[in-house]
Subunit: 351 residues, 3 copies
Amino acid sequence: MSSIPRNQWYVAAYSSEIGQDLFSRTICGEPILFWRTRSGQVTAVPDRCVHRRFPLSQAPSRLVDDQVVCGYHGFTYGADGKCVFVPGQSRIPRTARLLPYPLVEQDSFVWVFIGDAAKADVSSIPRAPYLASPAYTTVAGMEPLQARFSLLVDNLLDLSHETYLHGGYIGTPEVAETPITTEVDDDAGIVYVSRHMDDAECPPFYAKSTGLQGRISRWQDIEYTPPCLYKLHSRIAPVGSVPNPDGSDPDAFHVEVVYAITPETEHSTHDFWSVARDFALGDEEVSKFLAENNRTVVLQDVEALNVLEGVVSAEPAGYQELSINIDTGGLAARRLLQRQLAQQPTSAAIS
Amino acid sequence: MSSIPRNQWYVAAYSSEIGQDLFSRTICGEPILFWRTRSGQVTAVPDRCVHRRFPLSQAPSRLVDDQVVCGYHGFTYGADGKCVFVPGQSRIPRTARLLPYPLVEQDSFVWVFIGDAAKADVSSIPRAPYLASPAYTTVAGMEPLQARFSLLVDNLLDLSHETYLHGGYIGTPEVAETPITTEVDDDAGIVYVSRHMDDAECPPFYAKSTGLQGRISRWQDIEYTPPCLYKLHSRIAPVGSVPNPDGSDPDAFHVEVVYAITPETEHSTHDFWSVARDFALGDEEVSKFLAENNRTVVLQDVEALNVLEGVVSAEPAGYQELSINIDTGGLAARRLLQRQLAQQPTSAAIS
Amino acid sequence: MSSIPRNQWYVAAYSSEIGQDLFSRTICGEPILFWRTRSGQVTAVPDRCVHRRFPLSQAPSRLVDDQVVCGYHGFTYGADGKCVFVPGQSRIPRTARLLPYPLVEQDSFVWVFIGDAAKADVSSIPRAPYLASPAYTTVAGMEPLQARFSLLVDNLLDLSHETYLHGGYIGTPEVAETPITTEVDDDAGIVYVSRHMDDAECPPFYAKSTGLQGRISRWQDIEYTPPCLYKLHSRIAPVGSVPNPDGSDPDAFHVEVVYAITPETEHSTHDFWSVARDFALGDEEVSKFLAENNRTVVLQDVEALNVLEGVVSAEPAGYQELSINIDTGGLAARRLLQRQLAQQPTSAAIS
């Protein structure tokens, strides 16, 4: 029984990762081959020759004029997945084709649809427009996680862990102390978790990037659209500052922290992280600081979750966790994920 | 189906291993957290936060004033396992507690009871008083074994292997040649195996430590209390020497070799070894020699048993061994272990 | 359910590998101990003491005067597998014996029969006489493959892959382009695959070893006797040259490429390769070139098949391949292997 919802859109890569080279990544247990054609379009097909399964990303497989040539027996496919050459005969079997994945490039990401392509609805892909907006400067990365994706969902939905796991980086005592409010939009399939700290210590992550001194007003507004897209709207301002009635907020600094949580297999995850800011635009020093600092924080999570994966894998069936108020968002996320799992007809475990 | 008896006492550590630091060791598949409070008492609780399972021994978890603070979300526990702090709320759930393991410090060991704590009977812990007696000088160590504990039980109950696996260290031809006598005390649950060699070559282990020259009288009297404690009463004396009728034995050298055989998992074992002697008390040179020599011998066993574990794991079900006279003690030990396994209601395999 | 046919002969080693030393190799999941007695005979017995399973090839086990002494407790066996010594008693149990494997040294190979020894028919062992004939000079080697043996069978039965995987070594465009003819001798249990290229580029492997310049006539005649022996009769000649009616063929160069495909386990294989030629006899430089070049080609296969094993192991059950004309030989080989599997009463998977 898989724990990964199918018939869903997942972030497979950053657009910047895909060039005119063969690029392979396993998404939800499926090895997928990507390349960008000379006309700029991204192609996504199974990374496995239909003949004898050889990975089309594996040398001596190669890209020749927008076509991929299998390195084992020379089967050749176009960007549409259709086979155009087989060895030893001129007739090409009708079934010799790679079925392309539905694919959308949007908001700096390459999204693919995993499941029944007929159910792929582009309008259902959640948005993170700041990541590709000139009004923001963004730093980003991806860290491989040797843990099931649900452990990362738990982690991100409950930011009280910042105080302990990320103390000295983004955590301060107020994060763990301040209660949260949680809302679920069942129709839209979104979990909202908010924590507004009106008078809090400013952690180095924000002090150094904003230049703010002294205590701050710090708001964390989470918006998670299962399974893949997690957005943290972070607002940092002097104590007492609030947005104007018209929504403008000139005294505050806004950071949009976005995670795409993409299962690689049942027990490993691609942890895509982006940090977009509406201040110090184009300032390389600030960009470098935020990139290094956020990567350090992500790697603290990776280390902890890799350990947790080992714990969960080894424990006897039926182990009970204890949940408290801080887990309200995480439990809501689990419920939405369960609903997505229940909607699919059958689901086999993915190794 | 586990092969590890539950509702039994096991050696978890030497007392000297546990200080005012977090110390984690897996015993019978259960990760256990130990620390010594400032008042000197040793605490043993599950090494897993009740909230989201984070190991309490894993940084940034830490000990603060006899309390352990989870490094993930800050759950804090006292030495009695009771939770005293959770993040984001002042009410602490009643069920937020780590259930302490029954624990006894005795004879240089930290013993824990694995199973139903209500069945823990301290008086049933087997004794090895020489290990902490001023009348003896003891050297000790622990080697991790990547093999099921029953292979070490087999090994230690049949010392004829000393001649082959430990030749040049503690083995001589007489060990393999001399028949054994075996007795089982079914009520006490103890296996006794004796081999008395009246005229034997003196192996380097005893020649260098005792200073005896020429051939010796060498007695090996084994006393094994399944599952965990193995004692070898070794008597080395000039040929012809026997104890006096009153039990005194001034011409002989006595070495008490003690093994605590503690399963880590179904397929790995903590191999605790101690060598206590009633001669050359406090002589550092003799201590150093015996420690190095015995460790070498233990590592010879470890290497052989690690290989055997691979053989046993790979072999088809139903493989038959051939047992002969030398195996009488080992077969009796297996029978007592089987009886202990049969006494427990259910037993799940431990990974 | 094993995919390895039992009651079959398999190549276990080259004769040259077995000397007066203990030599262990796992064949079809069974660890087998080999040594050559002082009279020159090769012995093959299970590599596991009947007493407590210790591998007889594992130090301190050793060979003493044509007898093997177990390094754990000293059980000693003669070359016929019969136990001649046990520790602690003079009576040797009647069942204390290692059952020898049927064994034949032939054509440079040591063949063993895996299965019910009563069914071992020496006359059914397929022959490759050139490998030990003075009319040929032979180079040979063995590469360990971390893939199931059937992937190597697929690989060798369809040489069109030479064009892609081995381009620049033994592949040229004509191999993939030229259709094959396939025949199956169901009674003898042999698959024949032929590809005759009348006007082809000469790859470096043959150009440098024969000295032929310009284009060539290149014949590939495969003869595979499942499960273990694969022979490629390779004929290289100037374009237009054909054998004489009496079978003599003075203008051609003949290379007999032989593979013995021996399962080590369900998922690993011993890939024995030999290249025998009827020209440049004894020429060390040609021998060195052919050995290095063929080993390079074999390692290209090994790398590709190791990747394929990973793909096949991870894929969901029921994945369908697409077969075309070039696969006729491989499919016939699979059918004969299935027939061999069906002939055996029961078959357990081998780890």
